[in-house]
Amino acid sequence: MKKYPISIRPFGVHAVLIEWPEKVEDAILNDILDFKGHLRQNCLKEGNWEFVPAYNSLTLVLRYDKIDFDTFKEQLENWYAEKKDTVVLQNHLWRFPVCYDNAFGIDLKEVAATLNISVTALIKKHTKNIYTVYGIGFLPGFMYLGGLPKELEVPRRTAPRLKVPKGAVGLAGKQTGIYPQESPGGWNILGNCSVPIFDPKKEVPCLVKVGDKVQFYSISKAEYDLHKIEVEVGIYQIEKIKIDA
C-alpha cells in the first residue's frame, strides 16, 4: 500500500491527532484503518487507548495518563514507516431496509422536483449506490456516508426541523444518512429505516464501523411493520456481506 505524508499534532495532553492529505478517498481511509489496526495489534495494545478515525484523520486518546508528545510523535512516525499492510481489514457491506412510503418520505416529492426526476427514479438512484462510512459521530451511531452521486446533491432545508424521527433517512449537500435517534435536523427526509442502527442495551451498541459500506434497499409499508415487530422480539438480523479490502 502507498505511504502518505502524515502530520502528527498534539490535541491536549491526553490525545494526539494524525492527519492524512485532506481528501475524501477510500484509499486514504483504508490506510488510516490499516494503521489503526497495526497500532492496536502491535504497538498500543492496552485498553486505555481509544482510536477515532474520521475522513482523513485518526485521533488517539489515552484515558488516564499524559502523553509525552515529542517521544510519542517519533514512535508514531516509526510505526507508520514500518507498517506493512499486515492487518486484514474486516469490512462489511450493510444493507439497510428503507421504507420510502409517503408517510415517512415527507420531502420525497420536493427533492424529486428540485432534481427534476421522478420519485421512482430518485428512490432507484438512492438505493443503487454503495456508500462508504467515513466517520461515526454527531450522535451515537450517526454515520457520515461518502460517495453520494452528484446528481443527488440537494441543499439542506432552509429551516431545520425541531424533530426528525428516529430512523429517518436524509439527504443534504454531499451527504446522505440515517438519524439514529429523534433529534433536530435540517436534512431532506426521503424515508425511514425499519431497523435500529444503535442499541445501547447491546454489548456492541453499533454494528457498523468506519470503513464499512452501506447500501439502502426499498421496502413496502407492510415489510416495514413486520421488521418493527421482528426487531421488537429480537429476531431481526440486518443483512451484511463480508467484503475484502
Partner: protein, 285 residues
Amino acid sequence: MKKLKLMLKVLKSGFYTTIQDIGRFGFRDKGVPVSGIMDIETVYKLNALLENEEDAAVLEITMTGPTLDFEEDTFITLGGAEFLITLNNEPVDSYEVLKIKSGDILSYGRLKKGFRAYLAIKDGLKSQIFLGSRSYYPYINPKGIIKDRATIPYTKTSLFKPKLPELKVDNPLDEYVLAVGKGPEFTMLSDKQLEQLFFKEFTVANENNRMAYQLNEEISGHKVSMLTSATLPGTVQFTPSGKLIILMKDGQTTGGYPRILQLTDKAISILAQKKAGDTVLFRLI
C-alpha cells in the same frame, strides 16, 4: 448474591439532578460521548474521603438541589457548588464525612456560589450500568436523570472509620482562569485573533449545558473549512462567524469546526462551576 434493595428516595429532584461517574469509555468511535462528572476535581476529593473506588457514582446537582430520604445507614460527602444544605434541619458542612442514619432527610436550600454540587455516598450509587458506565446521557441511559419520587439503590454501611474525616479545600469556585493547550488548528490564528483570545475576558452565554458552553464575545471570524474530525471534552471550537464553543462531557465526539484550544482537565472542572454571565479568561500553558 446480595440483593440490593436499600434505596435513596428522592422526595424532590431539583432542577437538573443526574447520576454520574467518571464516564463512558471505549465507544467514541461509535459516536458515544464520554459523559460523566463535569467537575471531576471536586469528586476525586469526595470519593477519596469516603475511600471509594475512583469510578463510584455520585449525584450531580445543578442550580437547585434535591430533598433526599435515606432508607439505611451510610456515609456521604458533599462538595462543589455551595448550597445551604441541612440534615434533619441542621446545617451540615461540605468536604466532611457525614454519618447518615436510616430515615435521615438531606435537603438542599439556596445556591450560594458555583453551579454544580456533588453528593458522594459510601461505595457509590448502584444504579444500572449502560455501556460500562452509570452516567446519564439521554440516548443511552435515560433513567440517569432524577425525577421526583425516584429511588436509587446503594449499599448499607453502618461502620466506617475514615482515615481522613474532613478536608480543607481552597475554594476553586472563585477561579476563572482556564488553562489551555494548543488545539490541532491553533496555527490558523492570526496575531489579531490571538490577542482577542488571550487578552480579554469572555462571559458564559445562556447556551451552556453538559454538552457545550458557548461564550458571548466573538473574535474575528475565518473562512477555514475542514473535514469532520474527532473532538474531546474541553475542545474549543471556532465557528466561521468568530463564536467560541467549548465542548463539555456530553459533547459530540466529532465536529467540523477548527479546534483552536484544548482545556486541561482542571480547566474543565473550573468551567463546570460557571453559569450564564460568569467571566472566564484563557491562559496558554
